[in-house]
Subunit: 232 residues, 2 copies
């Protein structure tokens, strides 16, 4: 039997990256999970990433700290209030305040470094162009440009020992599609964390921020129950 | 008088990035220096970066920690011995052990995030394709690919409020050219740190590692004295 190919999977602890990891596993990859601790205001996401990695039988789970909070500029790392209770049309209006400058570029760069170190040609990331239509680094042309860069940027890419591929299997799926796909693959969504404004005591989701609303609507559209606890 | 344009300058504390910063300053940019603390084995570089930023009158100097040591894979972050006393032909033979996977991609990504936050279209980096011919991420085609990515990856790039440019003014210069250029611009090279294997007590340079040898040869070829102290 040939050795199982390795995949570096960016795992945030959220629903999208958990589904992405399950898809990679279903295609026969050994999962090498990578979480980026970018100075989030809450740590529940990283704890969720660890639970998800374990539940999917990942070969390893590394967390690399990148102190993006030093850069400022986003509600996710700064003290800017997270929007609550916005309508779908408000969310659709342009790039949201929760946008973190260059976040996916930083995360994919670290994933690329790890991939080269462990000899993985395949990097999986749960970016999505539908629900996050305002994020420039969630578009197919961005992913293509990064893949091209990856093969120019590295010893393995230039010497041809690894031909890096960036997999973004969720990129054109709706949230409901993602949840159906993950449910079919046995993803335990009770382990995931999505909320931007969780209860500081236990990490329970608020149900009102953009991320919670998209999640709840996705489960409703998929005809499934969201197994996590909401405090509001 | 129009406001001075801002430049994000990646400052390692070494000779190349100090020269790059001086070139940016000579072209009228306000310097916003950025150092990446990527888990180096020694801290003398970062201290040197602070001194260089101050001596060049930088508007600010930020240090962002990116724990690349978590990834492993290089003599600069791992416990692999740093080569000593290699000849120029040995150094020219392929990609050196001191190569850090995806380092420039990670550093430029963080610089891009900072640039977007502070409203700087111009990112300056001291990569050099001559002395580091083995590093894939020191080639012009890599810089061009990153610039393209930068304008796809960011809100400011996509909305057209900033047209990002990556400046690599040293890319085709020899070490002697770089030193002559910096000396003409008044760079105080006594503030810089180059050595891969410094004295752990005071950071004095070894004079024998690849980096020291390239530096010493560069000063010799430029007909100038290297003002730093070598312990060997």
């Amino acid at each position: 039997m040939p050795p199982q190919p390795k995949a570096v999977v960016l795992l945030s602890g959220g629903l999208d990256s958990a589904t992405t990891a399950a898809i990679a596993r279903s295609q026969g990859y050994a999962l090498h999970a990578l979480s980026i601790d970018y100075g989030q205001r809450h740590r529940f996401e990283l704890a969720a990433a660890g639970r998800v990695a374990q539940s999917l039988g990942a070969a390893e789970h590394r967390t690399v700290r990148v102190d993006l909070a030093e850069m400022g500029g986003s509600a996710l790392t700064d003290a800017i209030p997270v929007p609550q209770g916005r309508s779908a049309s408000e969310m659709a209006g342009g790039i949201p305040v929760t946008y973190v400058p260059a976040r996916n570029t930083v995360m994919l760069s670290v994933a690329l470094g790890m991939a080269e170190v462990i000899g993985a040609a395949d990097i999986w990331v749960g970016v999505n162009a539908v629900d996050y239509s305002g994020y420039p680094d969630c578009r197919p042309e961005y992913i293509t440009a990064f893949e091209r860069l990856a093969n120019l940027a590295t010893k393995a890419g230039v010497e041809g020992t690894l031909k890096f591929r960036i997999h973004a299997p969720l990129i054109d799926l709706t949230k409901a599609d993602i949840i159906r796909r993950g449910a079919a693959l046995g993803v335990d969504y009770s382990l995931t964390h999505t909320c931007y404004s969780p209860n500081p005591e236990d990490g329970a989701a608020c149900g009102a921020c953009d991320a919670c609303q998209l999640r709840l609507q996705g489960f409703a559209d998929a005809g499934l129950a969201d197994p996590i606890h909401y405090f509001a």
